[in-house]
Structures are given as structure tokens and as C-alpha cells.
């Protein structure tokens, strides 16, 4: 845990090196832009299911007018940051671990050291920076498309009032809800990028396996650890933000 914290801190500091911009943009494209479609799909159907379930529950107590509030706050405060982070972990986090792990076992990282190129600066820092940029942006996209999904299922399919839905979306969301969601996205970005890079970078030091198998095990471990830590951190951060 301590080693991972030092690793992350070192990588974070090295983000601000002058030669990083191009590499960071490349990784923003890979982690962020290339994840757009999957985030749109997951966000849309999450919002639709949320609208569907919430509508039927609210009708029982005669509160279907609160559909917009329920969908929006659920997405912005919880589901948006958590599901976005888990989806990016599955899509990009696993690839980060595998790529860095292969670079480690094929001595590419050693080669960087012999060329006086700091491997943490060259390989890790841009990925962490790109995650810190991409996660909040994708979370915002997820929230937006989720609200559209809730509108489709709640208003267009089930017949809730469109004006009420949109008014509730606007009226019940304040700036704190949005900033809290983005704070969570940043925390999850740090967790996912840190864990995935760390597991790949030290894949050669695993005691349970070697070579390609070690990379596979490191990838699995990175995804599982990231997902668990996202949920644990979600509870901790929510508790802190509610104080």
C-alpha cells in the first residue's frame, strides 16, 4: 500500500514535466475519446432502467412527478461516477496493465532506464494525467445521457409529464451535487490509473506466476482491485462529502 502510494505520488509529480503534453493527449484519446461509445450505451440504458423502475415505484405512492429528481440525483451523485469508472476500468484499465506488464517482461522498461528516460515519467505519468482529465468528462457524459434515458423510458414510453420531468431535473440539481460527482470521478481516476499502472509496472515481481501468465494475473488483479476500491472509496468519499 505504501509502495503504491509512493509510486502514485512520484508519477503525479512528473506529470508537470515539459515533454508530457503530446503523450497525455494521446492517452486522453485512448482512455477518454475511445471510451465514449461504451459510456453512451451504458449511460443510456442505466438511465432507461432507472426511469422504468423509479416510475413504477413512484406511481404506487402517487409521486411520479419526482421521477426527474430521482433519476438525476441517482445518476449525478452515485451511478454516474461509479459506473463510468467501472466501465473505464474494464475497457482501458485492463489494457493499461497488460501493456505496461508486457513492456516490463520484454525489458522495454529496462531499455528506457538505460536510455536515461525515466520510465515512470514516460509511461505512468501521462496515463494518470489522462485519467484525471477523462474520468470527469466521461462522467458528465454518462450523467447527461442517463437523464436522457430516464426521459425516454419515463416520459416517452410510460407517459410521465415531460415538463415536470425536465423541471425536476433542473430544480433538484444544485452545484454541490455536480461538484461532489466530479470529486468522486477524480478520486476514482486516481485509484484506477494508479492501481492499473502499478500492477503492470511490477508484474515481473509477482511470486505466483512468471512471464505472460504474470501479465494476465496482474491484469485480472488490477481490474478486481480497482472495482473493489471504487466501491469502498465511494462510501468513504460520500461520507466525507456529507459531513
Amino acid at each position: 500500500m505504501g509502495a503504491a502510494a509512493i509510486f502514485f505520488t512520484l508519477a503525479f509529480i512528473k506529470i508537470f514535466h515539459p515533454r508530457q503534453i503530446r503523450k497525455i493527449l494521446n492517452h486522453v484519446y485512448y482512455i477518454g475519446a475511445n471510451s465514449t461509445l461504451i459510456i453512451l450505451l451504458v449511460g443510456l440504458f442505466t438511465g432507461m432502467v432507472l426511469g422504468l423502475q423509479s416510475y413504477h415505484a413512484l406511481v404506487k405512492v402517487g409521486a411520479q412527478g419526482a421521477l426527474g429528481t430521482l433519476v438525476t440525483l441517482s445518476l449525478v451523485r452515485e451511478l454516474g461516477p461509479v459506473l463510468t469508472s467501472i466501465m473505464i476500468t474494464a475497457r482501458a484499465g485492463s489494457a493499461i496493465t497488460a501493456e505496461i506488464g508486457i513492456q516490463r517482461i520484454s525489458e522495454q522498461i529496462d531499455a528506457l532506464s538505460t536510455m536515461r528516460i525515466d520510465p515512470i515519467r514516460y509511461l505512468i505519468s501521462p496515463r494518470i494525467a489522462a485519467s484525471l482529465i477523462s474520468f470527469p468528462l466521461l462522467t458528465a457524459l454518462f450523467d447527461l445521457i442517463g437523464i436522457v434515458g430516464g426521459y425516454i423510458s419515463g416520459v416517452l414510453i410510460l407517459g410521465a409529464n415531460a415538463g415536470t420531468y425536465l423541471y425536476r431535473v433542473q430544480a433538484s440539481t444544485d452545484m454541490k451535487d455536480l461538484t461532489d460527482g466530479f470529486i468522486k470521478a477524480l478520486v476514482f481516476a486516481a485509484i484506477v490509473s494508479g492501481v492499473c499502472c502499478y500492477k503492470g509496472y511490477f508484474a515481473h515481481m509477482r511470486t505466483d506466476s512468471h512471464g505472460a501468465k504474470a501479465v494476465g494475473m496482474a491484469t485480472t488483479s488490477a481490474v478486481v482491485t480497482s472495482c473493489v476500491l471504487i466501491l469502498v472509496a465511494d462510501y468513504v468519499v460520500t461520507s466525507l462529502l456529507l459531513i
Binding site: 525489458e107 522495454q108 531499455a111 536510455m115
Partner: protein
Amino acid sequence: MGEPLIEFRKVTKRFGENIVLNGVDLKIYEGEVTTIIGLSGAGKSVLLKHIIGLMTPDEGEILFRGQSLAFMGEEERARNFAQISYMFQNNALFDSLTVYENVALPLTETTQLSRQEVHRKVIKRLEQMELMEAAEKYPSELSGGMQKRAALARALVTDPHIVLFDEPTSGQDPVRKNSILTMIAQYQKKFGFTAILVSHEIPDVYFISNRILALYHGKIVFQGTPEELEHFDHPFQDEVLKSLEELKQELTGLYSKRLFKAHYQSILKRKLGEEYFTAIVFTVEPPEGEIAYQVGTAIANCFSSRGGFTIRNEFSEFITFLPFTSLAEGEEMLRNFIDERLQELKLPAGVVLNAGLSGGHPGKEVKAIINEAKSELKAIFRF
């Protein structure tokens, strides 16, 4: 000999229970080509990784220009390591970067050179390594030999003072092996860097090495010149050197220069009146790598099936030695070679193959025969 550039004093390295380096003492001098030889798994690569700081010894110390690395400040150590380039055994090219980007990487990441200057340096190295056509390809799209040359280009692009070569010729065909060793020797002379090689290419590496270090059972059992190694009386001589030479002879069509001489001399020593020999010197124009490679392979294959043996003497010069063959027979075999083999080669128009023949006699020096054949060089085939 002066102060050693790098010195190991009682260096020991363990991996668990396995002691890989067991009190290694060695000295490497500036401006020389030093080759570390030994069997696979003897710890040669581990030894190289200690020199560049990728590994640190469990016991003992490593001195750089007389100063212990262990007592050097971070900056001084970094400054010393900055003079060293390392060519990995498995090349360690970045598979997500093109060959051009791989070679440019140390310049773009560690220097303040302009983009034009980086481009100029990279192109120069790629041209020297005959890699221009592969510049935009990824390492996975290249043959093993081309990957090796790309790694070599990357190692040399920063003009280092010390270059460590970990098995630079592994995975290469016999013609290119000679070519790479020749290239290392030429660059070493041209740029004056200190070259430290790990190699199995015994005895070929002797021709480019000033000093040989023999690693055997975790210790350096020999440090000296290749000539001194010939007279080294130690189990290493039988277990390692002879077995590697014999294996090479069995596996390849081309002879090493040392075996070539040895073979020639063993025949001469018989001094039977009726014995005679023919040497053929081939040169290829223009002297381009791929063309020379194809012609060299064709020569080696053709004449080895007729009892001859061939070496690559220069970049585009090959010498074939035909024992028990008169000059007339040699000329006949050369005509057959032109008719049977050269016609099949698909080489660009304008390529010219020159050949010169010389008859050998008992007691005559190899050099004299070769020089005589060279004086007879004339164009025998134009593609």
C-alpha cells in the same frame, strides 16, 4: 595499460539459492573492444546489467574510472551511466513505436535537439543499418535480423562513449553475423567508444576483440588477448571453446576466418606434391547489404556442395577456397556457378559480380593467394 574504465572487485550476485556471479574480478579498459564469453546461463547478461546499473551486486564493488559506484552521488552516477548505451539481447524495441520512432526516442526524450537535427541523426543511423525501407514499420513487422539492427541503431544514435552489446549477432544468418561484427569493429575504430560484448560467436569475436574475458562457473577465469586465450590451459578451453567452434562448423555454410585459416593450413601441412588449391575472390557492386547477402548466401551454398568453404572478408567481398582443385577446375566450377545459381537470383539490374581466381600451392601464404586472386578480379556477370 593505465587505469581501468570499469573494474569489478569480488562482485557476487545471487538469485535465491543460485549464485550467478561468485566473486567476479575484472577490468575493462577505455577504447578497447572487450568480449565476455561463456556458456548460456553463465551470467554474462547479469554481468552487463551490473555495469549499466540495472542490477546491483550483493557483495563486492564496481568501480567506474577508479571510483566506487556505491559511494557516488546520484548525479555523478547518472552522469556516468549517461555515457553508456545498452543493446539488449532480445532487442527491447518498443512494439507500439515504429522503427524510426524507436531510434529517435533517446534523442527526443533526453536531448534538446531540434526536430530537424533529430531527423538527420536518425536517418543517418537508419541508412548505415540498411533500415530505410523499414523506417515506418513496427518491430513486429520486421525479421529478427532487422529488429537486431534497429536495436543497434538505437544504441548508437546518441554517440555513446561506452556501448554494451548483449549477444548482438544472435538470430542472424552467418553472412549478417560477420557484417554486424565488422560494423561494430568499424564504428568502434571510427568513434573510439569502448565496446563490451557478450557473445557466443567464437571464434569470430576474436577478430574484433582486444581483450577476452571468460566467465566460467560464476568467476572470470581468463582475462587477456585472443592470442593468449589460444594457449589458456583450463577446463574452459575444452568445455566451452571447442564445443562452440565445432557446433558452428556443423550448423553454418560459412566458415569463420579462424577455421578458414586452420582448414587451409591443415591441408598445406601435408605438403603432398600433387595437391593444389584454388581461391576465388568475389566482389559485388554496388556494395548494398541485401544484394551482398543474397550473393554471399548463393556462393556459400554452391561451393560448399563442391567441398569448398567461404567467408565474408569485407562488406561486399567473399572468398571461397576450393581444396584439391586446379585452376582449370576452379574456372569450370565458377562457370557452373554462373549458369546454375546466378541466373536464378532476382537482383536489380545493374548489379555486377566480379571474380578473380588464383591457384594455390603448398607452402604459399593465404594472404598471397588472396592478393593474387584480387589482382585477377574482373566482371563475370551483370544482372
